[in-house]
């Protein structure tokens, strides 16, 4: 895996001309006033990476050069993104005389997911759960290990099925080519958003103010004896070292997306329950699954509750809401904000006000039989094996190929049987038959 990153770096380093080309492209489309990509302001004014307005502008410029605009998307060749698909999904919605639809994202998705893919379209505030913010590259309903990016097939499945029980609709009526274009565009917005966060971290960690040195390498001081400092701009077009870093940051992100197909959890043939099991066999498996559900190893009961109504631990948040919660707390704690760049302080109140109400992650009510990530046995298997990324729901299988997991595959299949039986079980039963470690269930 590392080898291929290294290779990527090599090829990226060689191919630097696109920077110039991309910068030129930006200049070329200055006349129109398209809806702009918005900066990730919670990141920019955060305690972790406070980013001055000058740096914010420079980050926006770098992203502009590398990704273009919502009307004119661009992608580095190395990103492996298909530009013709991106063009089909981007821009204003219209159809040409051949009947080809353009501007698919703005037509179908933008009012929930927002132009930037920040999950902040006009209707987003009122939805529960909120529409996905793509900018972390984290997706819930996928076939890969918890930490890994989704595959194209995973995203396609979400588009075709929608996310039942949420506002996310099914787009099964769209032609396949349009779905593919939309998947590409979602990835594009993710990669762009991930790079934005990496750039903010890079600027904060490595750039900023630096002491000026004279020709002898000594630090210059003013008449008061204070160090003279200067701001190191983020300028990868003119600074080869920075350019290399930016390309590395991008390569790290792209590596995650390109390797996702190798990170799919494929259940071992030996343990997949046969289709022709009889009622007793199924009942035995359900009973096993039930014991695990209540036991401390799987511990599903603690979150989903003893009646599986989702009424266990409800005090936690998913990673998107948790980040907002932390941000709000940090801002409350920020006090007089002494030493923080005034340009950052100035925008903090506005950013705080823009944040949607923080919502807790409520474990699923498993008696309703509505599965947001799909109702096939394989879907439920994936949820339990890998957990649900970005949410409190933990993995019970290994975290990566070859690692050790908490549960064995056959045990996970037992739990799948139990979960799928829950909508048909009367809720009073598990209470009566309460389980192995009764004392541990509050």
């Amino acid at each position: 895996m590392n080898g291929s990153v290294a290779m990527n770096h090599e090829s990226l380093r060689k191919n630097l001309t696109w920077w110039m080309a991309a910068a030129a492209l930006l200049v070329g489309c200055g006349k129109v006033e398209p809806p702009p990509f918005r900066l990730n302001m919670t990141q920019m004014v955060s305690n972790e990476t406070p980013t001055s307005p000058e740096y914010q502008q420079e980050i926006a410029d770098v992203l502009g050069a590398m990704f273009g605009t919502p009307d004119e998307p661009y992608a580095v060749p190395e990103a492996g993104l298909d530009l013709s698909r991106l063009r089909m999904a981007a821009g204003a919605a219209w159809s040409d005389e051949k009947g080809t639809n353009h501007g698919l994202y703005r037509k179908h998705c933008v009012h929930c997911h927002g132009i930037t893919g920040d999950g902040r379209g006009p209707t987003a505030r009122f939805l529960n759960p909120y529409p996905r913010d793509y900018r972390q590259g984290v997706y819930k309903f996928k076939s890969t290990y918890n930490a890994d990016r989704p595959t194209d097939d995973d995203l396609l499945r979400v588009l075709v099925n929608g996310v039942p029980g949420t506002a996310m609709p099914s787009f099964s009526l769209l032609p396949h080519s349009e779905l593919e274009a939309l998947v590409e565009y979602v990835k594009y917005l993710s990669i762009r958003g991930q790079l934005e966060v990496s750039l903010a971290a890079y600027v904060y960690d490595d750039l900023g103010e630096e002491a000026e040195v004279d020709e002898n390498g000594d630090e210059k001081v003013d008449s008061e004896g204070n160090e003279i400092t200067k701001r190191i701009p983020l300028d990868p077009v003119n600074d080869p070292e920075q350019r290399e870093v930016v390309m590395e940051l991008l390569a790290e992100i792209i590596e995650g997306w390109e390797s996702s197909a190798e990170k799919v959890v494929i259940p071992s043939e030996d343990h997949i329950p046969a289709d022709n099991r009889n009622a007793e066999e199924i009942a035995a498996s359900v009973a096993q699954g039930r014991e695990l559900f209540f036991g401390t190893r799987a511990n599903c009961v603690k979150c989903h509750g003893p009646t599986a109504l989702g009424d266990g631990q409800q005090d936690d948040q998913d990673s998107w809401n948790k980040a907002h919660k932390k941000f709000l707390q940090d801002m409350v704690n920020a006090g007089d904000q002494e030493g923080v760049h005034p340009g950052i302080v100035a925008s903090r109140a506005e950013v705080v006000a823009s944040i949607y109400t923080v919502r807790n992650a409520i474990p699923r009510n498993l008696r309703q039989g509505i599965y947001r990530g799909g109702r096939r046995r394989l879907d439920i298997f994936w949820r339990i094996y890998t957990g649900i990324a970005g949410t409190p729901m933990p993995a019970t299988g290994p975290a990566s190929p070859g690692a050790q997991g908490t549960l064995k595959e056959e045990e996970i299949w037992n739990i799948v049987d139990y979960v799928l039986s829950l909508p048909y079980e009367t809720p009073s039963r598990p209470l009566k038959a309460l389980p192995v470690n009764l004392e541990a269930v509050n």
């Binding site: 971290a201 390498g217 401390t296 799987a298 631990q313 006090g335 002494e338 409190p392 019970t396 975290a399």
Partner: protein, 269 residues
């Protein structure tokens, strides 16, 4: 032990001092000499009684442990525990490592779910070293939800007698947080670095980092509740807005920052 505070220097000595520093920095490139950094954190302010945590799950078991908020923790005499001090390195830069410390320890760093809290509350881990997440709360299920930025994050169940073992390949810039989603009050921080130059302050507030290549280095001062410790007086220097201070490590000697006073009002405003 010479620390720069150019304000107190006249023009003439200033030049001499800077020349000396330049020389010292240059000398460190040969890395023959090693030094120590140490100090002791003291909380300036009255923390009062620690706040009891709201135990909302496994109340019978977890509730009996008198769990308190550990985001600011003091020992005897207001000694401030759990402050991270570590070497700052620019992206792509490395540091000479003392031969004794070349290899990370083959002993794992243990993070135990114990009494419905993480033990220890802070830990240091080198890349290539094993992190072992254990659950010694018999009959209680925990999960460990680890937020990492440079390494793959994870969120896994931890069973009694069957620890999760992890190894990381990349340095994280800041301590990473581990929580338990079943018991969301549980929190720990682990700093993952590809070099050994890091420490946390202990029960008595003191920390020590040994065998650092002599010369001037930047160190980060970080505490859980406020992140980077800004404008902190460390010996004769002060940390920057990013919580970093340039410190000169003497060859075959030590830089003792003495008592480092951290204002409570800077941690909890």
């Amino acid at each position: 032990m010479m620390t720069i505070n150019s304000k107190h220097l006249t023009g003439c000595t200033r030049v001499a001092v800077f020349a000396a520093i330049a020389l010292a920095t240059f000398a460190s490139a040969t890395a023959a000499d090693w030094g120590t950094l140490k100090g002791r954190f003291v909380l300036d302010g009255d923390l009062g009684e620690p706040t009891a945590l709201t135990v909302s799950k496994d109340v019978e078991y977890c509730g009996k442990n008198n769990l308190v908020d550990e985001s600011i923790a003091v020992g005897e005499g207001n000694a401030l525990k759990n402050v991270f001090v570590y070497l700052y390195l620019k992206r792509g830069k490395s540091v000479d490592i003392h031969p004794d410390l070349a290899e990370p320890s083959s002993e794992p760093v243990v993070l135990d779910n114990h009494g419905c809290r993480f033990e220890p509350h802070v830990a240091l881990l080198r890349t290539g070293q094993t992190l072992e997440v254990r659950n010694s709360d018999k009959g209680i299920g925990h999960n460990t939800n680890f937020t990492l930025l440079k390494n793959p994050a994870f969120n896994e169940m931890v069973t009694n007698d069957s620890p999760i073992k992890k190894m990381f390949t990349k340095s994280e810039s800041y301590p990473s947080s581990a929580v338990c989603s079943i018991h969301p009050w549980m929190k720990a921080h682990v700093l993952i670095r590809d070099n050994p130059y890091m420490a946390t302050s202990g029960e008595d507030g003191s920390f020590v980092i040994e065998k650092i290549p002599a010369g001037t280095h930047e160190f980060i001062f970080w505490q859980e509740s406020s992140g980077n410790l800004k404008k902190l007086s460390v010996g004769k220097s002060k940390t920057s807005r990013k919580g970093r201070a340039k410190l000169k490590i003497p060859a075959d000697g030590e830089l003792d920052l003495g008592e480092i006073k951290v204002k409570l009002s800077d941690l909890r405003k």
